[in-house]
């Protein structure tokens, strides 16, 4: 008798996976072969380099420096971020130019950064933010992973 129960449960299990197979296969075919976008996609995967996940607004991503309207960095070299950084990855040099203290070098070693966001919170001038939305910055050398945030060009 137990055997019969097992048998029917096996059939039930096959029906569950079979339903997944047929339904998901149908939506895969529609979405990826006939290129018709449906709300249901048949899979939970994000095809990473082609499709990108939507990043929440407060998600901590690659750092960026804020600049004044004149184009000078907002950082005044107070060293609070350097002090608070648990990973010890921020290096700031500041000089006094025309009576104002301005950062001349602001380097973050991303390799060591833990993306805790303390530097952003502690900054009194709102100079550093982590909202660039860039998640994929990879390199084959340590050198390229020390970001010079004062460099304004594309990088």
């Amino acid at each position: 008798m137990k055997g019969f129960l097992y048998f029917f449960e096996t059939i039930k299990g096959l029906l569950v996976t079979g339903k997944h197979l047929i339904v998901n296969f149908f939506f895969h075919t529609i979405n990826y072969i006939f290129r018709i976008k449906t709300k249901r996609r048949g899979s939970v995967t994000t095809q990473y380099p082609e499709e990108k996940r939507e990043i929440p607004p407060r998600y901590r991503t690659k750092h960026r420096m804020m600049f004044n309207e004149e184009g000078t960095p907002r950082c005044v070299g107070c060293m609070l971020c350097v002090t608070v950084c648990p990973s010890d990855c921020i290096f700031v040099k500041a000089e006094e130019i025309e009576g104002k203290k301005i950062a001349t070098e602001f380097i973050i070693h991303v390799n060591r950064c833990a993306f805790c966001g303390y530097c952003v919170e502690v900054c009194p001038e709102d100079a550093i933010r982590m909202d660039s939305g860039k998640l994929d910055f990879v390199s084959d050398s340590q050198k390229n992973l020390s970001l010079n945030l004062l460099f304004k060009g594309k990088k």
């Binding site: 055997g3 996976t17 079979g18 997944h20 197979l21 296969f25 895969h28 990826y32 048949g42 939970v44």
Partner: protein, 368 residues
């Protein structure tokens, strides 16, 4: 045409068919498992930037297997170690020679059977051949000279020997029903009709035998839920010491065995190349020869005999693929059985059921 040449051509065509099917079976397994689990499956292998849902993946896999180091451990029996995968592959692939892929076709004056050989004992031959492949497994495990792989080979042997009994006993019911052991005649018999409207497919005549057969045969192919011989996830299986293309041959043999199983199931239980109500060369009552659909409600639909052959070949392929996908579904649905459960299922449930099936079949045959 020269008989030898014809057989050679058939063998080459069938081998090419088998290899392509087996290569894409690896892709199908990955895709089916992915789709069942709400994933995408392999779709990254690209040639010239075209990935086309992974159709190049089997070639990438094969290339990877070929370029991996073929390491033979120094403590193994070299000859048997090299020979064992070949035995399994050879005997499981050899089953294909007896399978009829379609009705004999007439090209010119020649009548060409769409199967390599058509022996009287084909039904026994295919099971004899497929059970020979166990030698490759136990030799592979044994010649590795490693306790774990030896035990894996032992598990494979005990499992396959116990399920062989249920497999053959379930076949006896079929042998009692079918008029011959010749596979082409078995398929011919299945294309006749019972009471004028039910096709005499094996699954309809012998449903219990079908269930026993499919369970025992899945156990014979050594795939989940009966994959104790290899049990890749925890206890280690018989091909532990194999690497590179030799391991690849064992992997491919798994798929070849599954393909063979789906071919056998299609031939024995799903009417082979038969499409219900489609006849070729049917002699009507007024003496004319008719080919096409004759429905039980009397309607006739004439189709030229070439198209009938093509339809039947396509039907055979489609049935095989459906059975194959079903086997993949089974493989990705159930967890593995424990060894005592495996033996209990084999000896305490399947064999008594198969004997019961034989008795019931005999009684029904005696009455009818």
């Amino acid at each position: 045409m020269n008989y030898t040449l014809l057989v050679l051509i058939k063998i080459i065509v069938l081998f090419a068919w088998l290899m392509i099917f087996a290569l894409y079976a690896t892709l199908a397994e990955r895709k089916v498992s992915a789709v069942i689990q709400d994933r995408h499956g392999a779709n990254r292998a690209k040639i010239l930037g075209i990935s086309s849902f992974g159709i190049f993946q089997p070639f990438a896999d094969a290339l990877k297997m070929l370029f991996k180091e073929d390491y033979i451990p120094p403590f193994t029996d070299k000859f048997m170690f090299k020979f064992a995968p070949v035995i399994t592959f050879f005997f499981s692939a050899l089953v294909i020679i007896a399978i009829p892929f379609g009705e004999p076709v007439k090209i010119g004056k020649e009548i060409i059977k769409l199967q390599v050989i058509d022996p009287d004992i084909a039904l026994l031959l295919i099971f004899a051949l497929s059970s020979m492949s166990i030698y490759g497994i136990i030799l592979g495990g044994w010649s590795s000279n490693n306790k774990y792989s030896f035990l894996g080979g032992m598990r494979a042997t005990s499992q396959i020997v116990s399920y062989e009994v249920a497999l053959i006993l379930s076949i006896i019911g079929l042998i009692m029903v079918y008029p011959s052991l010749r596979l082409s005649e078995i398929v011919n018999y299945q294309s006749t009709l019972l009471w004028g409207w039910i096709p005499k497919w094996g699954i309809l005549l012998q449903p219990l035998a079908f269930i026993i057969f499919i369970i025992a045969a899945i156990a014979e192919t050594k795939r989940a839920p009966f994959d104790l011989p290899e049990s890749e996830s925890e206890i280690i299986g018989f091909f532990l010491e194999y690497s590179g293309i030799r391991f690849g041959v064992y992997m491919l043999t798994d798929f070849v065995e599954t393909i063979m199983l789906s071919l056998i199931i299609t031939t024995l239980f799903f009417g082979g190349w038969n499409i219900p109500y489609l006849f070729s060369g049917l002699k009507l009552s007024n003496g004319t020869i008719f080919s096409g659909f004759v429905f039980p409600w009397g309607k006739q639909l004439a189709i030229s005999i070439n198209w009938v052959s093509i339809l039947q070949i396509i039907a055979f392929q489609i049935k095989t693929v459906i059975v194959f996908v079903f086997l993949l579904l089974v493989r990705w649905t159930f967890p593995r059985l424990r060894f005592d459960q495996l033996m209990e299922l084999g000896w305490k449930s399947l064999i008594p059921l198969a004997l019961f099936n034989i008795v019931v079949t005999a009684i029904i045959i005696a009455i009818v």
